[in-house]
């Protein structure tokens, strides 16, 4: 079965955005830290990565078949002007659903339902989850297999945490560490209580 992961560019104090949605220039500095021109699948934008980040990010994009995001991010990006730049179907978990279209499905329900719909769209590929509340809900539902932490050399001092406060979880790893410029790419596995019988 395909994996479910969550990942985000994160400050060393654990935030994926600073106070009042600030700090993105720092969190995403690694998108322009190299010479490898990297065009997003939709063509919506081209970033310039180091070779290490390009290999890592390119691999993750290729492996990802669908996304689950929250309504706040959807609104903040204005629905990515029609399609998520990763070019995959995106499930939006929301209490105020809009009309579905070829690129977005709106789910007014549980994280389990949202992930199930995303899995159908992903096929054999992975499902990527938003950080913050979505990641927390998915962790608590036992749905998250891996965590991709793009650790950025900045202290934001406040804002939106990668993981909303709640229960604790043990992880395995990092199973990979990729050093780059303005970011360290770390990958962890979530230990599931039933993992011994998997």
């Amino acid at each position: 079965m395909s994996k479910v992961y969550t990942g985000a560019s994160t400050s060393i104090d654990g935030y994926v955005s600073g106070p009042d949605f600030s700090g993105f220039d720092k969190l995403f500095a690694w998108y322009e830290a190299g010479d490898v021109a990297f065009t997003m699948p939709t063509g919506a934008m081209t970033v310039h990565l180091t070779p290490a980040s390009a290999a890592h990010y390119g691999g993750l994009l290729q492996a990802t078949g669908a996304l689950v995001v929250g309504r706040r991010l959807y609104d903040f990006t204005n629905g990515w002007n029609g399609q998520h730049p990763m070019g995959v179907h995106t499930v939006v978990l929301t209490h105020r659903p809009l009309e579905d279209n070829e690129h977005f499905t709106f789910i007014n329900g549980s994280i389990d339902e949202a992930v199930a719909v995303a899995r159908k769209h992903a096929g054999d590929k992975h499902v990527g989850l938003n950080s913050g509340e979505i990641a927390r809900q998915a962790l608590d539902a036992g749905l998250v297999d891996e965590i991709f932490l793009d650790l950025v050399p900045v202290i934001l001092g406040g804002g939106t945490p990668f993981f909303a406060p709640g229960k604790g979880y043990e992880l395995e790893g990092p199973v990979s560490v990729i050093e780059s410029s303005y970011v360290t790419h770390l990958r962890y596995k979530v230990k599931h209580e039933d993992s011994k019988t998997d």
Copy 2:
């Protein structure tokens, strides 16, 4: 001049202790993750580190000449039963000072005063600072040169953050990444506004 650093074993969600001072078994699992018997300078305890962690931690201990900690940690450890296990003079920043002795100085004053006293004890060696409120005060006073982040594969979901919320800071690095078992040792430099003229 000697450097001032702060460092701590930290969960990937940024906490140096879990809710109600929990989680230390997870945060310090790397102290018993290897075969290298490592006795603290005072002989107070022996831990068992991986070769990578032993080299890293041993080097840090050798370079450290004094510490600054908060009163809460001092009380929580019962004053380390007389001496900090690192075997160096320890300055306790507190509004309720106790009587100074050969191993501890109590400062009822500013972080600047506490660090100045610690520097005298450290000589050419470095001053290590507690995480949490002490790290935050020292950052805001422009006193922190480096950050040692021992990143542990656990989500604690709440507790005491490495950096108390406040102003943001840009960092350089990581200037070193050491992979080990149950921990990744990352070292960052703090960018000071006057660093261009240093």
